[in-house]
Symmetry: D2
Subunit: 311 residues, 4 copies
């Protein structure tokens, strides 16, 4: 098959540019086009449920509305992410913001109460509001749970659902997930500012977060899907959990990942998706696409192009 | 200061090569030399406790004895790692092995019951033994815990300590940690074959693993140390947890990381350690070294050279 | 300054997506937006001439028309590239093509006469046509030069201009450069299939390619420009030559690079553009943007968005 | 085959550490061990000639003596490198040095006359000495050449040999190459400070550097070798030229490369060596090893370990 040269023009639509990438079909442009095409197919397939994982600072890094859009339109069924992304989603819901152009001298930033994530910045005042608000939410949940049959024990997914139900922010990922029956899993939740507040709260409240408690429900979600497609933004625990949750049913049917990590160290974060086949985490013959690059630019590009083809 | 050219010779000792790297002091060789020097200083400092994080397939990838050596010599106080490394440590303790040179066709590997991690391979028979053995251990622990005051609730660190006490393998990281009073934390434990078996076990046994339960103890460990140095092999949850656990006390005093991930995406895995200062996870003026490369080659090199200078 | 979350919509234009990236302003999306904005400013500035470097397989990889478009619209004044990109431009002009989806077994590909560049393929028949055609062109040039005052000595830029004048292909980069008075430099020309044929031709023809001969003319081009902006796709010799050619006048005024190489090894290919300031290859206060990623996807994205803002 | 865990000990020799890497055989340690083993086999094979390429700042970065050692012991037959490494070799021969720990503010460095290559620094005084000395050498060579049959035309390899003959520094790569009949090729020579001075010199002296002139001699070197092994440090033009020079004879017989560049962009710098087979630049069945990492640390490690096994 021949490689077509890419043509561009004035007033070009994102989906037109993606068609050009598809016509080329090679190197980075080819990967991006295959990912966008696969995303269209996954969303348009009525028998396919989509699990999405998100690692790295994608909420602080600008993808909060895009994830929200996927949830609002019920295009994903499951979101697996880090405690950090949940923290930053809530931080914005409580009125905080993320900032930029504040410099790179980390000692000076620390003195000014500014935490840095590459070129994204947070302010300690916003975290103070986060802390006081999340404690109130924990209190509400704690009281509710206490009267449960579970005797004060709650799973992470259930906890996040309860939090979502108490957030008043139409752009909140947690709120949108609650409203649209999308399940959020965060197996490493404790390792975050959210987790830190949770720990402090449990010091003098009866609330036990069950680390294992979500597996049964997640397993049910996997088994009730005819087919599963996975969108994996970044690697880490969220990517591993997404793939591993599909192990019992023989693996995902389709998968796309965007990662900047290398495969050679053996870490799953940079591993080719094909490797998942050996572990029965991706099916034989499954459609798997790896895009190498930064998800904050490439996922909006891929999804915006896909929008023009989604039924 | 001048850059000396590196000289090598026959029968050279690793520590002599490292001296040459120190004399050069620039690019990759300079980073490696600074890391080795810092490791010597961290270990030789009687007031410094060392926290070590390990992400990626470092136990399957050949670092099991080296981590064991650090524990046996009480050079580290805390080990923070993934469920996968714990699984693979136990897999070897139960008689399993890791393999190589088995090819890269993942569908064929899957058909043959072989799981691939880059160029490291595992066999399903070994996992079957792992499953039957770990279940027995869970049964023992479950009975022990059931009679506890905690009413069947156990933290991850406590669970791993109990597992370590029941392993009969002098090379086991879990066993050595148990014997030498080194605490192992694995906040993402559930996301592993160990976690999968744990879930299945809890389906019909009373055992609740408390996701938040380790924070108090970990916090105590941080506060009882005069100074803390961190060795971070790979990124991910283990690196984040290591740094975050030091937040409440103003950050680590020294840190070295070996990572192949890039900083530009904003993920912590590739972030420069200086960024931790902005979050009070590393102290102002702390000694921080980043080595870019593969830990399976570079950490043995760094540690072997350090051995000749450790008191 | 606050980070805005990125919003996407159906029928979105590339330039609208870029506005969203600009509103975010951080991580990869922020880099891409700054690059696109800088490209607009460079092109719209009547006092700025643009030097473009291109390393890596960007002609086989789909950017031939886009480079052609920049030349046709006289948006660049100088193109600095590798012998390989020149070879592949001519290969298409002589009727050859680039191919895809031919597999990754290099011994089988070799047996089938197929050369592989990652996932781009070439066929030996196309190279055979290239060889017979380029020899004819060398013959024509040789005869023309022989009667010159230069006694059979020609510089690389002059040679490429003569080649361009003899190509009948409206999409040829060499032809377009000839027609639009854009100068092409290729200091490493000899290291390519073009160079190989050139060598063979010189075995029995009087034609000497002067390695140093372009410097005077390139220096004139630098000095006759009020300001110089540089677009650097990939690193290597073309990037170095672009920056070094500006050394004598104190450096470039603006620069954007797209590269996937890392800075830590010290190679210029992955070096931050700021480093060029220390060498007087970029001016103090110059506007410099580095995008980390694959140019075959990102440069069309950046340029397509810029088109809507170019005067 | 089983993966052995790596053991280290006090007073360990580099070659003992390498044996441990060989016993592991996987991930980065496995790659390093295979590279060292291949280097031993290449050097010990009496029928194999070694071509070495060197890109990136490896002379400023500490590998000058190691390359010198390879030449002095006649372990390599050909060195292919950049004009920059030749410039920095001469800069040290003329009494200049490379420096470190001078900071990263490039505008301040420029004001102080300091050029930065990552964390390696040069001083303008040293370049001034370089300039005055190299001009004297050009004058000597120009006079010698002028009386030649070649009428003032010289190839790059011949020029570098003449320079080497005039250098009084027992550690100079150029001098050692001259003394030991090792041929140095630098097809991109012009793109360097050496090239800049060469150009200035040719402005008012009769000296033409023939860009194509080395191909015949290089081809002879390839054809007179029974077998060819390649050591490729970094990518770029030197790697391409090394592989391409072997095209006419069907490709190299063995090859090892150390690179930090990624394969996905299609640039040769990060390409797997297997790709060379498709182009007849590496033989079917050739032994090819890629090490991912920084050559300033890894090549001394690999070569020092090899020394204990070289006949």
């Amino acid at each position: 098959m021949k490689v077509n040269q890419i043509s561009i023009k004035k007033d070009m639509k994102v989906s037109e540019l993606m068609e050009e990438f598809k016509g080329s079909g090679v190197l980075g442009a080819g990967r991006v086009a295959r990912a966008s095409n696969l995303l269209v197919n996954m969303i348009n397939d009525p028998d396919m449920d989509i699990f999405m994982s998100m690692a790295g600072p994608l909420v602080p890094g600008g993808l909060r509305y895009i994830v929200g859009d996927l949830i609002r339109n019920k295009r994903i069924k499951v979101l697996i992410t880090s405690g950090a992304n949940i923290t930053h989603d809530l931080l914005e819901s409580f009125g905080g913001r993320h900032y930029r152009d504040l410099g790179f001298n980390d000692e000076e930033l620390n003195d000014a109460g500014i935490g840095r994530i590459s070129d994204v910045y947070t302010q300690s005042e916003d975290f103070e509001v986060f802390e006081s608000e999340i404690i109130k939410i924990f209190e509400t949940i704690s009281k509710k749970i206490d009267n449960d049959k579970d005797n004060g024990i709650i799973s992470i997914q259930r906890l996040l659902k309860e939090v979502g139900s108490l957030i008043e922010d139409e752009n909140s990922i947690l709120r949108l997930a609650y409203e649209n029956d999308v399940s959020i899993f965060a197996p490493g939740l404790i390792d975050s500012m959210f987790g830190l507040q949770l720990w402090m709260f449990t010091q003098d409240h009866k609330l036990v977060v069950d680390a294992v408690g979500d597996m049964h429900y997640l397993s049910d979600l996997v088994f009730e899907s005819d087919k599963i497609g996975a969108i994996m933004l970044g690697g880490g625990l969220p990517k591993h959990y997404t793939l591993a949750s599909n192990l019992l049913k023989g693996g995902i049917d389709s998968g796309l990942q965007i990662t900047m990590d290398r495969p050679e160290t053996g870490s799953l974060s940079g591993a080719p998706l094909e490797e998942a086949k050996s572990w029965s985490k991706a099916k034989h013959g499954s459609n798997l696409v790896t895009v190498v690059g930064d998800a904050t630019a490439l996922f909006p590009l891929i999804y915006a192009a896909a929008l023009d083809k989604i039924d």
